[in-house]
Symmetry: C2
Subunit: 256 residues, 2 copies
Amino acid sequence: MIQTISIVGAGKVATHLSKRLQACGLHIRQIYSRQLEDAHELAKAVNAQGINRWADLQFSGLDLLIIAVKDQAIPEVAQHLSALPSHATLIVHTSGSSPLSWLNTLPRRGIFYPLQSFSPGREPDFNQIPICVEATNPADQKLLLELGQRISQKVQITSEADRRSLHLAAIFVNNFVNHLYQIAAEILAERQLPFDLLLPLIQETAAKIQGHDPVEMQTGPALRGDRATIERHLDMLEEHPEWRELYGVFTALIRA
Amino acid sequence: MIQTISIVGAGKVATHLSKRLQACGLHIRQIYSRQLEDAHELAKAVNAQGINRWADLQFSGLDLLIIAVKDQAIPEVAQHLSALPSHATLIVHTSGSSPLSWLNTLPRRGIFYPLQSFSPGREPDFNQIPICVEATNPADQKLLLELGQRISQKVQITSEADRRSLHLAAIFVNNFVNHLYQIAAEILAERQLPFDLLLPLIQETAAKIQGHDPVEMQTGPALRGDRATIERHLDMLEEHPEWRELYGVFTALIRA
């Protein structure tokens, strides 16, 4: 069973994950960050040691090292780690889109990917966050599965292809949806209308697919084929060609 | 004060609105629908009379007639109504995108637009639904404002231009967002993954802008400028050119 964990990274994923792991009874030993100050700050919060030198990482008795850094930085971190006497510690990364092969130089490797978008100052309901695990050998997979189950009710073993599809789908429902919120806010701001007016509609839109197929929940001028309204909207968007393009593509897709 | 109301229409808006009005102590007198069966069904639910002939509409003592039909049908309904002895009853429509001028042949006219997306079988929290009111004379505007305040905490007088912008913005955060949910569901279905896995992320994405600017809440490969991930995603979408186009437009907008 995994009991002692160290973390590489001190950003959003590292912060939320290490706090959750500690709250669920795991021991966080060290937090590594290039910025010692960041390492110390997070380390303090989870009763760990903050470090900024690779040579200070202690592998003896360590059950798991979690790499929670920007995707692009994973290969470089793996390179540093493979130069250390890691005592065959299990090492995972937390990225939805990065391949497991980026850790190929490490003897025991895996994935521990929480499917959520973390923001500073917000505590998500970790129990409901799906955690996708993967490992190169069955014993490590079992260890990661057990660890996942200690912090969430929704853990599953996913292949790399599954995880990539989940991550891509997550971009659509998180980043792109959030950008639609932003466009709407800007449309209202042009008339000095508060974005707050849309919050009940945004909440309801997200709530009503919990238990329903999105196809069944669709409404609006595109679905009704209300050409007059669609034309009027396209006219209103004349000064924003990218929003107009989005409007056209969505309308065609909803109609199809 | 408005006390007695009749409704033209028996669809989603007519149903939710008449039920809410009745629950708040208003008297619903008649429900008109071209389909007598639909009129009867809704009439029964709100203790009213169901009719399907224009001549059966009773205007004497009626404080308000609400036209809650498809946008395209409003001009035709207005034509029928202006041929009747309406005793100068206040008549409103409930459409976000239709002009007040569509009721120009009626002596007292206005708008009563609830900014929400209604679906069968779901009871939205009406108290939180913004209601946009407008009327051609101040006395009627006051009547509509008071009526709105009886069924919601968020009533406001909006100009036609305001209402149109609200409606356009609503299309982005409701119809288009819902379509992104649908695309994500299809991406997962291609790998036999359940859509349920995305529900916590969808909830969190909607929840975290309640009180925050969407710009501040943005994350992901587009914002980070993570070209490798973006290229991989575009490759994954090769068989879905419209989704690929959306991915490209959103990525460019988020980067900007």
